[in-house]
Subunit: 452 residues, 2 copies
């Protein structure tokens, strides 16, 4: 296989230890031997060629974007070849009048928004890391804007995919809606590389709002911040972002980004619309926050201030890691119906406090989604055990509250047991049937989402 | 099989000719022999029982809701049993705080909104007919509100499905987002009964807007109305409804609903939001319409007037049928990117005018979706041929303009060739693989979407 790849791609097929190790690790706390080779593809045709070679030989292939997965998606658990798509980083076409864009899978979200700068349009989905759009589609990612703009599920219009035998297919069109047959687009979105390699992605874009205002509000407790959020959502305020940071997260970003935020639980919010509409929204939210003891409703009115705050929010994960040198994070990702969010978070906070492990909480609370990051010393197996026990307890709670074990990070290696608990054996068996039908030799990122 | 069904369901299994004929016909222009039996199921368990019996014997089953399909979805092209779900018509739970509802598949969209009346919430998706939510999910339906609220694709959170062997599975949870494995929910939405029978559906709801205003505006030409729409969408006005009626549709609804609308191309619009926001939106739209020669921007400010207008819009299809006694309609359903809409409609109008067939156009133009209904005499095969030729020309045009052959009606029997043109052999072959994997004996509504 490696010879065939080297013949096809020359020096763009590497077996160097450092390259393999870089592609055999993500932000998950797993240690797995690296892939046997890494190929840097520069076109859909090259991906097709690599997959065809792999299919003939039954060699696993693992699509690789930015390496920012939190759940072990990129790890070569059954060996094989990592297909690095980071050189497929061209924005292929911007159709500003239709508010769509087609990109290669290796374009990152920040690169895309830089390239959209002069169009008056933007792409809202923003996981913490500067992930690639291929990776984001593969894990059905979301981020801080999902409460208003949806997730990758709602924002991918179409795909060019290399399927398990190396064929190239297109799914979807540039039309905003369609009922033309099975929804292959949404089948690939969230499939974590197990059904094919997404090479090109057509996305919805949105007009940069005429008015954007951001605000920070401190609360006496996490519960007060969450109760405020619940009321905002239930009232139907079209808030664009509403993010919770617990006191540990605020401390971490203060230290990391040299901010002077008040060290108490906080909501970080943003309002999009016409000037009249954003004023109206903010006023409604301010009144609700006041009822729950919210203090210091502060405005970030200049774009610079806003960028500074949101950059800090996006750094929260890395900022928190730095509070415990050498640590890794076991990161939870439950999402529950909004009416159950307070119950879910409050019980979780009590458990986390009692555990003695350092932790932080950030949450896309408008969606009912929040993350607890338990900071563990990888040299202390017992810390990981404690963190995993807390994660399992949180997932059980979320499922009891009719939520999901993962709002946006995916299943990967980490949550396969949780997926069974959530979906049940019947639905999981359907997923396996689809996998077997579309990837009969089990070469597409095998061992992820479920075991066959 | 019939004996087994009669043992299981008693008189709720019927082989009476009238009953079978009623279930062997929809709004499509096809004539096919009726199913061999009709069963009226009253629970998911009964559906499971019927499907298990059918699976053992290789007998086709066809889920039946309101019978309002336009594409032959309900026709028993391979014989078998029609599963009538109309008695599964209970709203099972309304979770007002989470803005979700769970219904049995036989609940109709109008029934649902009646039952939601006191909650301050509504369900926006409204195909012309009073379809069942099961049927709407099966065809990935949309309607007049999709430009703002999305389609069934965006609004189904989870499903209870009887799969091809009679098993009952659940997909999704009540959480607003999830990345837990393959998106089975969206695989079933739009699968036209070919993968399983949807029995329960959990849907998103929306707060009834504080302010709703509707307006009617007449234009000198279809093109002027479409150009206005394109600008409204491109400016990002969050308009809730923007519907085109050509002069033939206006005449038909005037006659059918005793309205006095000016007999020229028309946009029928609705604005949702706070009072300030709807005023702002309407003002923007009025200015744009004025630039394109829009006249008589008239307000429907009372709920009664609004209801009267939208009811007329929903009657357009039946009103048009009545303009040519005994006719049937060959109804097109293309959807294109908004920047291509004017080109698509203008060429289509020229062709329709030249054909000599009576026709009408209604369009969810904010989505780039419009319907031409060609009114044909079923006794004149040549009229159907002409209509089908025009439909094929329109689909070819829509595909060239990067659109889809069907925005919301589905493929059924009618558009299988168009689906191949649109998706390509590779994607279609993937759909067939999924069908074979999930329904190995081909009992679930066989012969629809594609031939195996």
């Amino acid at each position: 296989m490696i010879e065939a790849l080297q013949t096809a791609l020359g020096p763009r097929c590497s077996t160097a230890r450092a390259v393999r190790e870089q592609h055999g690790r993500d932000e998950s706390p797993f240690d797995v031997p690296p892939p046997e080779a890494v190929v840097y593809c520069e076109s859909t045709e090259e991906v097709s060629q690599v997959v065809a070679l792999a299919a003939q030989r039954g060699v696993p292939v693992i699509p690789f974007g930015a390496g920012s997965s939190l759940e072990g998606h990129l790890l070569a658990v059954q060996g094989g070849v990592s297909i690095d798509l980071s050189r497929m980083n061209r924005v292929l076409r911007i159709d500003a009048q239709d508010q769509t864009v087609t990109v290669q899978a290796g374009v990152t979200r920040m690169q895309l928004n830089r390239e959209l700068k002069d169009t008056g349009l933007f792409f809202p989905i923003d996981p913490g890391a500067d992930a690639t759009l291929g990776g984001m589609a593969a894990t059905r990612a979301s981020g801080t804007n999902a409460v208003r703009y949806g997730t990758m599920r709602e924002n991918v219009l179409g795909l060019t995919v290399v399927t398990a035998d190396g064929s190239v297919i297109k799914t979807g069109t540039r039309a905003r809606k369609s009922s033309a047959g099975y929804d292959l687009t949404r089948l690939f979105v969230g499939s974590e590389g197990t059904l094919g390699v997404m090479c090109e992605i057509t996305l919805k874009l949105y007009p940069v709002p005429e008015s954007i205002t951001a605000a920070v509000c401190s609360f006496p407790s996490v519960d007060a911040a969450v109760q405020t959020t619940i009321q905002v959502i239930q009232l139907g305020v079209p808030i664009a972002r509403v993010e919770l940071l617990d006191v540990n997260s605020v401390r971490a970003v203060n230290a990391h980004d040299k901010l002077g935020l008040k060290e108490s639980p906080m909501l970080l919010m943003e309002f999009h619309g016409s000037p009249a509409s954003t004023t109206e929204q903010a006023q409604t939210v301010q009144e609700i926050a006041h009822d729950f003891g919210g203090q210091a409703f502060e405005w970030a009115s200049t774009p610079e201030e806003r960028t500074r705050l949101w950059t800090a929010r996006h750094h929260a994960y890395f900022a928190a890691l730095q509070t415990k040198p050498g640590c890794r994070s076991v990161t939870t990702d439950t999402c529950v119906p909004i009416s159950r969010l307070a119950e879910c978070i409050n019980e979780t906070v009590a458990e986390a406090d009692a555990s003695g492990l350092p932790y932080f909480i950030v949450g896309h609370v408008g969606d009912g989604n929040f993350h607890v990051g338990y900071l563990i010393d990888p040299g202390q197996p017992q810390e990981r055990e404690t963190a995993e026990r807390l994660n399992a307890q949180l997932v059980a709670r979320a499922l009891r509250l009719e939520g999901t074990c993962t709002g946006e990070h995916g299943i990967g290696l980490h949550k396969q047991g949780f997926l069974l608990d959530e979906a049940g054996e019947g639905a999981l068996s359907l997923m396996r049937s689809i996998k077997r039908a579309l990837d009969p030799h089990n070469v597409m990122n095998p061992g992820k989402i479920f075991q066959l």
